[in-house]
């Protein structure tokens, strides 16, 4: 299956105007600094304290970062991105704060402005830096805390601010709210796709994302076909369908909770035992790892990424697939948030194995995979455009070595970034979705 490039072009043309809808909060500089500092102190915990005490300034993290490798600009060294958090930690929480305060400057609004590029434009929170760090410092986790402080201080990129405000204030993304979603599903139903909407009782709640609704519709259709093929009692609900979480991406905790709670409530309402997250990288850790903590207790359902679900079904023998043939030379791009952050590593490979394609593993793949450069909302940030392109060259080189004709992935953001990066680099590799490949290989009854 392919996507309509005309629609993709239209979508891409809208992106430069995304930030125009943002409504930045009116705050004094002093209030911004105070808010950022207060958030940093509130979010810093024992693990971060040990991490911030441990750095030996070896710089190995930079060698694992696609933004540093793509630009060789030392300002993008991952550990440096934490400087403001480290300064606040040293002055406010460190056991040696009485000493550090003598020579550690407090953060200023100028610092916050300078660091916006470092924690948003040039970090996808991919976490590859932590895999080489000899001290095991969780840099990505602390970049997220930096984003939370910056977001509350109103200092995030306009594009993410607009998306976060739309999701938190209007319950929609790119203008698609529950009503538009129902309209889109109705059209698919008219076209003969069986999508059970708003069932009162279901074992499985399938979620989707705005990208699947407006752009990767084939992915949504493929998911529905697979669920129906497996004979599952499933539903898609208009009161909890959106898996994308711009609260998480922007660093806005309030919206993050609103977005994840919608899914929790929808799953509860229909009694779902399983919630399936679509091909959307950050949406998975958002529900799988973060939601229980925001909710304040264990979730009453299992959270599975669609790639993880498919892998399990294949492995258990419940999902039999036709082979697509060894003339299809493919490689797999492990989305950072699914693999390195969440351990969904073997499952997509079980699926590719069942598909009988000529699968070529990349060098430094799996939990060590290079990020594509578009994650954590970076794909939407206009000021990151050139930087993203430079980082994408690392990805091109990695994929080229495999000799594959196409890249399969299980994340919509990665897919968008690959498509955009390929267009701009005149790179001819196909970009395919795992769930769509599976739908293509479903046996006819």
């Amino acid at each position: 299956m392919t996507i309509n490039m005309e629609i993709f072009q239209q979508f891409a043309e809208q992106l430069p105007h995304l930030g125009e809808h943002a409504q930045p909060p009116q705050m004094t500089d002093a209030a911004r600094v105070e808010t950022a500092r207060e958030t940093f102190v509130r979010k810093l915990d024992g693990r971060m304290a040990v991490d911030l005490e441990s750095c030996i300034h070896c710089g190995h993290c930079a060698s694992a970062c696609h933004f540093y490798v793509g630009t060789e600009d030392p300002k993008y060294a991952p550990i440096r991105k934490l400087d403001l958090l480290k300064r606040v930690y040293r002055r406010e929480l460190s056991p040696l704060r009485w000493l550090h305060r003598l020579y550690t400057d407090d953060i200023t609004v100028k610092d916050l402005q300078e660091w916006q590029e470092l924690v948003y434009d040039s970090c996808t929170e991919c976490g590859r830096c932590s895999m080489v760090c000899p001290m095991g410092i969780n840099i990505a986790g602390m970049v997220n805390v930096m984003r939370q402080g910056m977001a509350r201080a109103g200092m995030m990129p306009a594009e993410l601010m607009a998306m976060e405000q739309e999701q938190g204030g209007h319950d929609s993304l790119f203008g698609v709210g529950p009503e538009q979603m129902k309209g889109a599903i109705a059209k698919l139903q008219e076209a003969g796709v069986d999508i059970p909407l708003d069932k009162h009782e279901a074992d499985v709640l399938v979620t989707t994302s705005v990208i699947d609704i407006i752009l990767f519709t084939d992915g949504l259709i493929a998911t529905a076909r697979i669920m129906n093929h497996l004979g599952l009692n499933w539903t898609l609900r208009s009161d909890g369908y959106e898996a994308a979480n711009f609260g998480l991406l922007s660093g806005c905790e309030r919206v993050q909770k609103i977005a994840s709670e919608k899914i929790v409530l929808a799953a509860r309402a229909c009694g779902a035992k399983t919630v399936i997250i679509p091909e959307c990288g950050h949406a998975y850790p958002s529900m799988r790892w973060e939601a229980a903590n925001e909710h304040g207790g264990k979730l009453p359902f299992e959270v599975l990424a669609i790639s993880e679900f498919l892998g399990r079904e294949v492995k258990a023998g419940r999902l039999k697939l036709n082979t697509l043939g060894r003339d299809r030379k493919v490689t797999y791009h492990d989305p950072c948030k699914l693999a390195r952050h969440s351990g969904t590593i073997e499952e997509p490979r079980w699926v590719l194995d069942a598909l009988g394609v000529d699968f070529r593993e990349v060098d430094s793949g799996r939990e060590l995979n290079w990020c594509c450069g578009g994650g954590a909302g970076v794909f939407l940030i206009n000021s990151a455009s050139e930087l993203r392109q430079q980082a994408f060259q690392v990805k091109i080189k990695q994929v080229e070595k495999t000799g594959a004709d196409s890249v399969v992935t299980a994340c919509g953001s990665c897919r968008l970034n690959f498509m955009n990066g390929s267009m701009r680099s005149n790179w001819d590799k196909g970009i395919e979705s795992l769930v769509e490949l599976v739908a293509e290989a479903l046996p006819t009854h």
Binding site: R47, P74, G136, N293, R340, H341
Partner: protein, 217 residues
């Protein structure tokens, strides 16, 4: 009181007190910062095993990272082994520790210790040049890196001078050597030399957290 008496007496006592108390203060202070319980369902519950594995697995980078890290890693090992040999396998040091703590072990020939000292100093110089000339390392370095470098170099350098009887009367050079060790002990809890303590908890918590999510770190 001679300089040597001072170095072997009150200076030693106070530096050891600061070393132990400061180290405990920093370690316990960092470990006691509140930690939130993670309420998400773990993918794996073998977090202790994951933590222990990462403490060891991070002793050498995975092959995917070799091309950019191998020089620093090997230089790091040479430096740490060099320091360990000069500090713990030099017979006069063993006698000194025996007098202080009542424990001893066999040393190695002095020539070998001196060779290790020369290699250690050469490695320290190479790492300093690298830090001062590589744009990346220059950018992420702070005063701590340079102070810690001096605090590491001086005991090795003055120790070799005392052994070779150069730089002044033996008693004076020996006193200076002991004082530089004491300066290093005093600095230890305050700067990055403290990684000698933190490498275990920091790696372990990373390994445990990744294991919880089903990823080998």
């Amino acid at each position: 009181m001679t300089l040597l008496d001072f170095a072997r007496g009150p200076a030693l006592e106070w530096s050891l007190i600061i070393f132990v108390a400061g180290s405990l203060w920093r370690l316990v202070g960092a470990l006691l910062v509140r930690r939130k319980r993670d309420l998400s369902e773990p993918r794996s519950r073998s977090t202790v095993a994951g933590g222990i594995r990462t403490v060891f697995s991070r002793m050498f980078p995975r092959k995917e990272f070799h091309s950019k890290t191998l020089f620093a890693v090997i230089a790091g090992y040479v430096l740490h082994f060099g320091l360990a040999i000069t500090v713990f396998l030099f017979t006069p040091h063993i006698l000194f520790i025996d007098g202080l703590l009542g424990i001893s072990w066999p040393g190695i020939p002095n020539n070998l210790v001196m060779f290790a000292g020369v290699v250690t100093i050469a490695t320290l110089v190479a790492l300093l040049i690298r830090r001062m000339t590589t744009p990346l390392l220059k950018k992420i370095s702070s005063a701590d890196d340079y102070i810690s470098w001096v605090m590491t170099l001086l005991p090795v350098l003055t120790g070799m001078m005392a052994y070779a009887h150069i730089g002044g009367p033996y008693q004076t050079v020996l006193a200076i050597h002991i004082l530089t060790v004491e300066a290093m002990l005093i600095w230890f809890p305050f700067g990055k030399l403290f990684h000698a303590v933190l490498w275990i908890p920091s790696r372990a918590q990373m390994g445990a957290a990744m294991q919880r999510r089903g990823v080998k770190a």
